[in-house]
Symmetry: C2
Subunit: 200 residues, 2 copies
DNA sequence: TAAATAAACGGAGGCGCCTCCGCTTTAGTG
DNA sequence: CACTAAAGCGGAGGCGCCTCCGTTTATTTA
């Protein structure tokens, strides 16, 4: 990687300071809006809350999909960062568990975006491979670290864990979805801790 | 199947005569509009051209997708009807060839609708299985009739022919797409006629 | 620091979406 | 035919999308 001003501005000439600020603010506000109201959140409302004109929003993100994509990438990025932070600050098994809980939140937003995200992911295959690669990479290092430290059993593969989490995504959209998913993660952790050399 | 007033109104109490008329006109106009301008054709424009108010359009088709679906089903229906008509009016091999040419037109519209149709077909799997079943059924009877009459070789399966036509759909969207596809159909027919018992 | 210029801003305006509900038409009924 | 209820109509109105371009601001240059 060469030097670059910031994520989201790869190989572009650096944005003017105000433009940079506005762009970041927009993404941040949009992330909240999409999470709260789904992808159909009003772009004019997003612009207003970010304190910019609608024109500014459109200059930065020529279509709604552009904005959704950037928000989604940011989400993934955050999830992966969290993996590193958690690994640094907690015992390996706890880190894994906390991360999986955060993963549940991530899936929750992803479901909010469901329809158009699905379209986006089939249309833009780069987006799909980029993000799924990064997420499963993050998970792999957490699982491997936990296994190496003896906090979870050593005979599991991270892809198995990923697969187990698949149930979260496909579970029906009931109101208690979040609690169910939380329990699923706990259950999964119990299974992973069972028979570990340094169970705790 | 029980008695039903009309296609598109299965198991509903029959529409009032004016409603029926308006509905049909709307579908007809929409079909043209979608073919010409893609799925983003203005619904208000469609309503106007059909000589009804926008409210009427929305009463019959609560969302754009509903309308797209009905138009698409009608398209498929027309394609299948054409198979029967052509089979009645032409020698079996000619019928098959003409039908495949019409199939090209059908694919052309389908491409126009591409993005939202893809979404619709993954969302609404009934639509997918219904239509693909009907289309491949139509093709099968044409191929079998042509094979039975000795106008094309007997050792081909209709699914092979379908597969061969797949190239039409996946071909890049160049301006000369239609001609290319026409040539592909001719080429395919030559292959099918080669070694037929009653080649002509 | 001031002037010059390129970059970015923002919101008015035009268009399409969709809902809502008072008005019109149809299909019965006597 | 006249009347009525139910079915259907339609377009005004409110909102969101997106473009366009005159105005403002950051950066560079002197």
């Amino acid at each position: 990687m060469t030097t670059e001003a910031t994520r989201d501005a790869p190989a572009q000439k650096p944005l003017r300071a105000d433009a940079q600020r506005n762009r970041e603010k927009l993404v941040e506000v949009a992330a909240r809006a999409f999470a709260a109201d789904g992808v159909d959140a009003s772009l004019e409302e997003i612009a207003k809350r970010a304190g910019v004109g609608i024109g500014t929003l459109y200059r930065h993100f020529p279509t709604r999909e552009h904005l959704v994509e950037v928000v989604y990438r940011r989400e993934v990025e955050g999830l992966c960062h969290a993996a590193e932070d958690l690994a640094r600050e907690h015992p390996a098994d706890v880190a894994l568990e906390l991360w999986m809980q955060r993963f549940v939140d991530y899936i929750a937003t992803k479901r909010g975006l469901a329809t158009s995200l699905r379209l986006l992911l089939t249309t833009n295959s780069t987006l799909f491979s980029d993000t799924s690669g990064r997420v499963s990479g993050a998970m792999r290092s957490l699982v491997e670290a936990a296994a190496a430290s003896g906090k979870i059993r050593a005979d599991v593969d991270s892809s198995d864990v990923m697969h187990a989490l698949g149930g979260i995504y496909s579970a029906p959209n009931t109101p208690d979805w979040r609690e169910r998913s939380g329990r699923l993660v706990k259950l999964l952790m119990d299974g992973l801790r069972f028979g570990a050399t340094k169970a705790g």
